[in-house]
């Protein structure tokens, strides 16, 4: 009996010791991990802040302000010779010049960053390629888009998805075969969804863009309007989560179009009207007029083809 009691007491003591050890380990782990991950100079912190504000300005379509902030960030990165920062801010500056319709300046900055990429960080070539694709796509130079997209290889799923979006849209517009990139984009979606749910994406807008172009191809090109609605609904859901008004406007317009084709007149009118309101808010008067006139035409029974 006594031996048993002693054994029990002994076990309890062991257990207590183990517990204390665990607590000490946990506290040490927590304490050590609270140490800074690495030294970061003040210039880098400020540059990161400038980049953040510049992105906000860009989101608000204030490209002049964004340009100024990106330039300041570029200078800060130059001060501490942070090549990655210089490349990212340099490309962003080129993008702002493109938005401001200054092709010479755009080209100058692209060349500048291209040199840095080639000499120091070839892995960032994709960023430059995406910018070139964007510019070409904006000019409806689909051949250039296809040629750049075909030569770009990247392991980053977000970059891959973005390039594929422009690629399939360009192929479809030139009436070329888009099946392979289309299926590649479809296969990429689950991993992107997973990253999005974990709030782990660098640019979550890519997911809504992917859904939009899948919907675009399915409905507008393949005339599968019902399937198109599914994709556009998903795109709208993500855009709403991201507060992306421009995307929401486009999604609503596309939904209106699909519903119109399916004979769901009331729903189509509702979507067009909502899209018009969004575009009015964004001061995109052309799109607002387009959406409004579609709604009026459907309501009056006219079926003017697009």
């Amino acid at each position: 009996m006594k031996t048993r009691i002693n054994k029990t007491i002994c076990n309890i003591q062991y257990f207590r010791c183990g517990l204390i050890m665990c607590i000490i380990l946990l506290l040490t782990f927590a304490g050590c991990s609270s140490l800074p991950k690495g030294m970061e100079t003040r210039s880098l912190s400020f540059a990161a802040l400038k980049m953040k504000y510049a992105r906000d300005a860009q989101k608000a379509h204030d490209y002049t302000k964004a340009l100024l902030l990106y330039t300041e960030a570029y200078q800060l990165y130059t001060g501490v010779d942070d090549i990655r920062g210089k490349i990212e801010s340099g490309l962003s500056i080129a993008r702002q010049f493109h938005y401001l319709d200054k092709p010479e300046e755009t080209q100058k900055w692209i060349s500048k960053t291209d040199e840095m990429i080639r000499n120091n960080m070839p892995e960032l070539k994709t960023l430059k390629d995406i910018l070139l694709i964007e510019i070409a796509f904006g000019k409806e130079d689909f051949n250039t888009v296809i040629s750049i997209a075909g030569n770009t290889t990247t392991s980053n799923p977000e970059h891959k998805a973005e390039i594929l979006c422009y690629h399939i849209a360009s192929l479809a517009n030139l009436k070329q075969d888009y099946k392979l990139p289309f299926s590649l984009l479809l296969n990429l979606l689950p991993s992107l969804e997973k990253k999005f749910k974990k709030n782990n994406m660098d640019d979550p807008e890519i997911l809504s863009l992917s859904y939009y172009y899948l919907g675009y191809i399915t409905s507008h090109i393949e005339k599968n309007w019902r399937k198109g609605i599914e994709f556009f609904e998903k795109a709208r859901h993500i855009d709403r989560l991201l507060d992306n008004s421009y995307g929401i406007g486009k999604d609503l317009f596309a939904l209106g179009r699909c519903m119109e084709e399916l004979g769901m007149k009331q729903e189509a009118i509702g979507n067009y009207n909502r899209a018009a309101e969004v575009f009015l808010l964004l001061n995109d008067l052309e799109m607002e007029k387009k959406a409004k006139s579609r709604a009026i035409q459907i309501a009056s029974g006219g079926q003017k083809p697009f």
């Binding site: 009996m1 609270s34 993008r95 401001l100 000019k139 973005e162 640019d203 979550p204 807008e205 317009f253």
Partner: protein, 369 residues
């Protein structure tokens, strides 16, 4: 297997005894903590408000707790009569010329009392210049900055405000605003006079304009009587004479030293003096505020830096990191190009820099036209 204790009652009794001992020890330590056994002296003071005041409100001096509020009540003049208990150890700090400063934190709303010690000892407070004994007698009155006598001590620079800088800054700002209000009221009266004079001036001008209109009507070459008929010349000359007379009167009015313009500028010199004094006071306050704010800047910067470090540490902690949302890099753009469903090659036209070649060609054509 059954396991029985031999002395259950004794053990239970022992536990109860230990519990009672802990309870008593706790009560004693609480009493000591609350300084219930400390000897001291009571003094009186007057405050303007009891907001945030309680019997646990302490009186501090240079960060030391030297006493606390014993009780307080509303008096006939709607002020607060407060009794302050000063601990024996700090009795000698209650001297002539000291004052109590009630500080209310603008952020937390917490109230605390501060003892303001005079700049020099002994003090010559009596009008005949005799030196009075330094220590204040027991149960005597300590002036507070809420009351006039306390404010007088501050104005005479016998004491100086200290304490929480932000609170002082807010109080100064409040004083500044109230001074400004007074001044505005003062100026309002002056402006009223000014506008009255202006109205008179406007009346005169209107009259003047009437006269000029008459003259112009009369001298009009088309409709005016001068050129229409020479027969009515005598009447016209009479009228003209009248008008000229009126005009003369008006000009004479203008020439007089007690005319309209000086009337307009009639402002009581005392008012001007008062206004200037207030402006001077406000400028002084403003200077103090700016100076105090300037002193605060490095402290604020340091606090921000420390906060930044703390937040970085929290951010790096794996136990908390999950709770901090990741910030999107959003590297590429804000506005991804989305082709319209309305036409096959219609891209985002309103996006700057995305004008299509066709659009540009059309634009150029239009410009050429």
């Amino acid at each position: 297997m059954n396991f029985k204790f031999k002395h259950t009652e004794k053990i239970v009794g022992l536990f109860i005894l230990i519990a009672i001992v802990i309870l008593i020890a706790g009560m004693i330590s609480l009493a000591i903590y609350k300084k219930m056994f400390i000897e001291g002296t009571t003094f009186k003071t007057k405050l303007s408000s009891a907001e945030g005041l309680s019997t646990s409100t302490v009186l501090t001096f240079r960060g030391y707790e030297i006493g606390k509020v014993k009780k307080y009540s509303l008096d006939e003049d709607n002020n607060i009569d407060a009794e302050i208990f000063i601990y024996k150890k700090f009795r000698e700090k209650i001297v002539r010329g000291c004052a109590i400063y009630r500080q209310v934190s603008p952020i937390s709303g917490k109230t605390w009392l501060l003892l303001l010690y005079p700049n020099q000892l002994p003090l010559r407070i009596s009008p005949n210049g005799t030196t009075l004994s330094v220590l204040l007698p027991d149960e005597s009155y300590i002036p507070s900055l809420d009351m006039y006598d306390g404010k007088k001590l501050l104005e005479d620079k016998i004491i100086e405000k200290y304490g929480d800088s932000i609170t002082i800054l807010f109080e100064d700002a409040r004083d500044f605003v109230s001074n400004l209000r007074q001044e505005v009221r003062l100026k309002q009266d002056s402006f009223q006079d000014f506008f009255k004079n202006l109205a008179q001036f406007a009346d005169s001008l209107a009259r003047n304009s009437k006269i000029l209109d008459n003259v112009s009507l009369m001298t009009d070459p088309d409709k005016g009587p001068v050129f229409s008929t020479l027969n009515q010349f005598s009447d016209i000359s009479k009228k003209l004479n009248e008008s000229v007379n009126q005009l003369n009167t008006l000009i004479a009015n203008y020439k007089q030293p007690d005319g309209i313009i000086p009337k307009m500028m009639q402002i009581n010199p005392e008012d001007i003096d008062k206004t200037m004094q207030n402006v001077n006071k406000n400028l002084e306050t403003l200077y103090q505020m700016i100076k105090s704010l300037q002193d605060q800047v490095p402290m604020i910067a340091e606090v921000l830096m420390n906060t930044d470090k703390t937040l970085q540490a929290l951010n790096n902690n794996p136990l908390l990191r999950g709770g901090i949302p990741k910030e999107f890099k959003n590297t590429n753009s804000s506005k991804k190009k989305r082709l319209d469903m309305s036409s096959e090659t219609d891209s985002t036209k309103n996006t700057p820099g995305t004008e299509t070649k066709k659009e540009k060609d059309n634009k150029n054509e239009n410009e050429n036209k």
